[in-house]
């Protein structure tokens, strides 16, 4: 039931783009994206709801393909501050409790 993220790790130079994918084996109600820097709390980036509604960060975009049960996070013109571990959290919507199942994380390192 845990979503699968890919890639597991990526190294970029400043200004390069990256895509992080989150795939589920079950139909999704929503997908949340968080970034966590080492030793810090996860920080909310984006939420994508079933039906196409999108909320979140103005410098990072994301898509939600309900049919494919997949979400992708797009990081364009990456900055050093983008480094960290990115987690998707999936809500299957069956209980209306906000229960998120998180993926294993994707570690992103942006180099100068």
């Amino acid at each position: 039931q845990q979503p699968v993220q890919s890639p597991q790790a990526v190294i970029l130079r400043e200004g390069e783009d990256a895509v992080i994918n989150c795939s589920s084996s079950k139909a999704l109600y929503s997908v949340h994206w968080y970034r966590q820097k080492h030793g810090e709390a996860p920080i909310f980036l984006m939420i994508l709801l079933k039906g196409g509604e999108q909320k979140g960060h103005d410098k990072i975009s994301a898509s939600f393909n309900e049919k494919k049960q997949q979400s992708s996070l797009y990081l364009t013109a990456s900055q050093l501050s983008y480094s960290g571990t990115y987690f998707c959290g999936t809500d299957y919507g069956s209980s209306n409790t906000g229960k998120l199942i998180f993926g294993q994380g994707t570690t992103l390192q942006v180099k100068p």
């Binding site: 709390a41 996860p42 959290g89 209980s95 409790t97 994380g105």
Partner: protein, 112 residues
Amino acid sequence: DTAVSQTPKYLVTQMGNDKSIKCEQNLGHDTMYWYKQDSKKFLKIMFSYNNKELIINETVPNRFSPKSPDKAHLNLHINSLELGDSAVYFCASSSRWDQPQHFGDGTRLSIL
């Protein structure tokens, strides 16, 4: 002004002891959560309360007992600590079950 605050930040104790972690949020949110993040960074939901009512109770040993005295506070008490309890415990809150979750800075629990 810290939105979600946890105390203590670090907790080092011996096997068999009982300990508590406190969490407070000043965001006016109705829902609060406890997560456990292990050494592989896997983030797993443990409990959730909505307006002091328990709504998520994952498969967690009954040595773990959450308590919510009011909707701004959610504490976690752990009895008879075991080596496997070593992890970072995060408290989070959200205004509604389908809204972004705001995480505290975490409590790093180390069992000797």
